[in-house]
């Protein structure tokens, strides 16, 4: 093993094949690694696109879902709410009547409306409770108008109208 001694690596045929296979596997793994990296970049790009889409959709939904008039009049829901609120508050319902009213202008548009006209009697705390119940379970576009309260035989006789509006058909 002196100077000038040549080292010869003698590989058997099997060993040659094993070495070549290992090199091939390394090349394949390298290729796959590059492909993976590319996919990761593409994935990030898609994520960004998806985020943008989600934001756009959110904005649209937000603009469409803002507080606005319902698309359909409440119908019986309103009269049911009025009657139930009066009953649960202890008021005596003398008359209650529901009807659709001619479209009414609110702001810049004309909206369909439903009106509940009712007449009730009871004590003042019952009146207050009645309004409280109405407000808690109110239909979104509901307003209470034209109230009249008269003290008759120490009971309040109250007439009022409850309107609810919906978008134009």
């Amino acid at each position: 093993m002196g100077a000038g001694t040549e080292m010869t690596l003698r590989l058997s045929r099997l060993e040659w094949w094993l070495a070549a296979f290992a090199v091939a596997l390394i090349v394949v793994a390298g290729y796959l690694g590059v492909t993976w990296a590319s996919s990761q970049a593409e994935k990030q790009q898609l994520n960004a696109q998806l985020t943008t889409l989600q934001q756009a959709l959110g904005r649209i939904e937000q603009s469409m879902a803002g507080p606005t008039f319902p698309t359909a009049p409440p119908g019986l829901q309103l009269v049911d709410l009025a009657a139930r609120s009066a009953r649960e508050a202890g008021l005596e319902v003398v008359t209650i009547h529901s009807s659709s009213v001619s479209p009414e202008q609110i702001g810049r548009n004309v909206y369909r409306g439903t009106r509940v006209t009712m007449r009730v009697t009871g004590a003042s705390d019952q009146v207050v409770e009645f309004f409280g119940r109405l407000e808690r379970e109110a239909v979104a576009s509901m307003v209470i108008e034209n109230m009249e309260l008269d003290l008759v035989n120490r009971r309040w006789e109250m007439s009022l109208e409850i309107f609810a509006y919906a978008q134009p058909s």
Binding site: V23, L25, T35, L57, I60, T68, V128, F131, E148, L149
Partner: protein
């Protein structure tokens, strides 16, 4: 060596496997993301399409803005009524009414302090933006005992049971309080009574009068309900954006008509409208609208020709303070009957389905010149415009509303009124819409919503003249099939060159002519040689086929009797008309009530209480003439001017100091119109055809507080108004303090009635 290589190969295999797995996993992830992105894109596209196609971006924004306005009306009434109905000891609330943001509370208290304390407590509740109180002493009221049972704390669902026996606290009898309808004005200001005559009357007996009803035309009032009070009050408050417009309506006797709904619309943009309460204020029929700054038009929803109150200007957003308005309409004549003192005329009436209080308009009915078509019942459509109320168009019994009839005129006409004679069985509430247009019926003129319809009734709608060729009447609600007996469309009359007059045979004898001296010089048993037959030019045709409403221009409140009388010799005979019920007074820009001026030149005087610009227009529906144009008006100086305009008019003060008063009044008719009558004796006494207000030498001076004004509010309402004006906006302390020092009525203690007007702060939604 071989083993080492095997290990290396094994490692490379593992590495390759891992790389392959990662790559495949990433591929899958990317595929999934791509699918998500694609799906997201589709969703966004659909959302955008739906957003654009359904209501549109701008429309959706409008809806949201409108909804914001609606939410302002969503008030916390539970809090409001909790505050209102929780009355302290010694006080009772009798009634509460609400219209819009305004609440009126009527009640009584043992003394002034309790009532003002109640107001103070309400003000401190933070629920109300403004408040005002009127307190009147009423010693006839019994004291309210502390602890008087109040209608509270009833078990839910059970009838109210007083918490204290009536024997310990007897029920308080409801007194005549401010809730009672105010008495009508002591004397109708609409037709001021002529001054009493002081001349000695001739004892000459005159034979009975033969009344000859040779009437050819009857000038009818322009409106069935004329706007007689139009008063604005400037509220100098910078912290409020809400004003009030109050409306009330009187019958021909000056009594309040209750139960009338009102309509209000904004003028300009944004358009807004609302209806008055179904049940107006019970006390005096007044309906109140809480409005923002802007310009509005208001009218009562009554059958007949109603004068619309236009240009109700409450203020500009840029300017501090607001104007509040009082509007009062008055029925101008009893429906279908002659005015007092009129001869009995027998007009030819073709048919009167139901006597309507609606006179026919003066213009020509051009509907008969057109053609009619309908949504159903086309065969009979023409019957609605054939001039015969006996013939009917009907949509058919099995064709429910909505139905319409379209009338196409043969040309474009300037139209100022539409009348419809109802065919309906059974009677009931209906909703009619009138659409008009020049090229198509594309403009909704008016809607009569929930109108109580009955067969034979006449629905009339006057409006500012406009060019119209198409009229579509659409019925959207009716208990009956849709039908009309007649539809009339009235062409606007051209401005008359002379006021309509009629041939008049001396008919009525009265004890005294309503002309005061010195204009009418009494001449015993004299009559005019001049036959007051004036041919009008042009001749308005008053073709009344439906309503026998014949109202004389020469109305008099006196009862004609065949007694010895004096026929006065007029110094002139003016053409029919009325002098403006001047003086008109006001503050700032405003309109005066309408009036009719003569063909003769008439003198206008005016006075302004400031130095500066004063511009006044004399307007009718179609004309506007600048009659006062002074840039150098001096405070307190009376100016005069001779005018020649005729016809129904009103003054519009366009430029005036918004804080100081002006006065306009018409003092005389020009002497150029004077006749030179030659009195001769005649067996037939003749009444000088003086109009409602005698034409000559009726001196109207500037107004003062003590003198009642023509077209003024009844005293009760005026008092209330002044009280409100005085108290509105005063803080609680400031309100209570002056009340304690110089209370209007209740200073000495004792029971009081009060009326509280509150404006609720805007809501923010439920």
């Amino acid at each position: 060596m071989t083993i080492g290589l095997l290990l290396v190969v094994l490692g490379c295999v593992l590495l390759a496997y891992a790389a392959a797995w990662l790559t495949l996993y990433s591929r899958n992830e990317v595929s999934a993301k791509e699918a998500q992105v694609k799906q997201g894109e589709e969703v966004v596209q659909r959302a955008v399409a739906a957003y654009s196609n359904s209501v549109g971006v701008a429309k959706a924004a409008e809806f949201r803005e409108d909804f914001r306005l609606l939410r302002e009306r969503q008030l916390r009434w539970s809090d409001v009524f909790h505050a209102l109905l929780d009355a302290p000891d010694g006080m009772a609330v009798d009634s509460v009414t609400q219209a819009g943001f305004t609440i009126t509370v009527s009640g009584r208290a043992n003394d002034n302090a309790i009532a003002t304390d109640y107001l103070t407590r309400l003000q401190n509740s933070g629920l109300f933006a403004q408040s005002a109180i009127q307190i009147d002493r009423d010693l006839s009221l019994p004291l309210i005992q502390p602890g008087t049972p109040s209608p509270t704390n009833s078990p839910a669902g059970l009838p109210f049971v007083p918490t204290r026996s009536p024997t310990t606290a007897p029920p308080v009898a409801l007194p005549p309080t401010a809730t009672q309808p105010p008495a009508p004005p002591p004397s109708p200001t609409f037709t001021p009574a002529a001054p009493a005559l002081t001349q000695t009357l001739s004892p000459t007996r005159t034979p009975p009068t033969t009344i000859t009803a040779t009437k050819t035309a009857t000038p009818t009032p322009e409106f069935d309900y004329a706007l007689v009070v139009r008063r604005s009050t400037f509220i100098d408050r910078s912290d409020t954006q809400a004003s009030r417009i109050r409306g009330a309506i009187l019958d021909e006797n000056g009594k309040w008509i209750q139960g009338v709904a009102f309509r209000i619309e904004s003028e300009g943009s944004p358009s807004w409208s609302a209806g008055g309460p179904q049940q107006p204020d019970k006390r005096d029929g007044t309906v109140e609208f809480a409005v923002s700054k802007g310009s509005f038009r208001v009218w009562p929803l009554v059958e007949g020709r109603v004068q619309i109150a236009t240009s109700i200007y409450t203020g500009r957003n840029e300017d501090p303070g607001m104007y509040e308005w009082e509007l009062v309409w008055r029925k101008t004549h009893p429906g279908g009957s002659l005015a007092s003192g009129s001869p009995t005329l027998t007009p030819t009436i073709t048919r009167t389905p139901i006597p309507s209080a609606t006179p026919i308009r003066a213009g020509r009915n051009v509907a008969t010149l057109g053609s009619a078509s309908a949504s159903a019942g086309q065969d009979s459509a023409q019957r609605a415009i054939d001039g015969n109320v006996e013939t009917v168009w009907q949509s058919g019994e099995y064709v429910p509303p909505p139905q319409y009839i379209l009338i196409t005129l043969n040309d474009v006409y300037r139209v100022d009124g539409i009348e419809m004679v109802v065919a309906q069985a059974p009677a009931g509430k209906v909703t009619h819409e009138i659409w008009v247009g020049k090229d198509a019926p594309n403009t909704k003129l008016v809607e009569f919503a929930d109108y109580p319809g009955q067969d034979g009734q006449t629905i009339a709608y006057p409006f500012d003249a406009r060019d119209i060729k198409y009229v579509l009447i659409r019925t959207t609600r009716s208990p009956s099939f849709v039908a009309w007996r007649e539809i009339r469309i009235f062409e606007q009359l051209p401005p008359p060159l002379s006021t309509p007059t009629f041939t008049r045979t001396p008919t009525v004898t009265n004890t005294a002519t309503p002309c005061p001296a010195p204009a009418c010089t009494p001449t015993p048993t004299a009559t005019r040689t001049r036959t007051p037959t004036v041919t009008q030019s042009p001749t308005p045709t008053f073709t009344s086929t439906l309503t026998p409403t014949i109202t004389q221009t020469f109305t008099s409140t006196r009862t004609p009797t065949n007694t010895p009388t004096v026929t006065r010799t007029p110094t002139f005979t003016p053409e029919p008309g009325t002098l403006p019920p001047s003086p008109f007074t006001g503050v700032g820009p405003r309109n005066t009530p309408p009036f009719q001026v003569y063909t003769c030149p008439w003198k206008l005087k005016y006075q302004a209480m400031w130095n500066g610009v004063f511009k006044v227009y004399l307007e009718s529906n179609s004309q506007s003439v600048l009659v006062i144009d002074r840039t150098d008006v001096q405070a307190g100086v009376v100016y005069d001017d001779l005018r020649y305009e005729t016809g129904p008019r009103y003054f519009r003060v366009a430029s005036a100091d918004p804080t100081r008063e002006w006065t306009l009044w018409v003092v005389e008719i020009s002497s150029t119109c004077a006749l030179t009558p030659v009195p001769t004796v005649t067996p037939t006494p003749t009444r000088t055809p003086c109009p409602d207000i005698c034409p000559t030498s009726v001196q109207f001076g500037p107004s003062n507080d003590s003198a009642p004004l023509a077209f003024d509010l009844p005293a009760e309402l005026r008092h209330l108004t002044r009280s409100l004006v005085r108290l509105v906006g005063e803080p609680a302390g400031a309100l209570a303090a002056p009340a304690a020092q110089t209370p209007p009525t209740g200073s000495a203690g004792g029971p009081v009635v009060f009326r509280l007007v509150l404006e609720v702060k805007h809501g923010r939604g439920y």
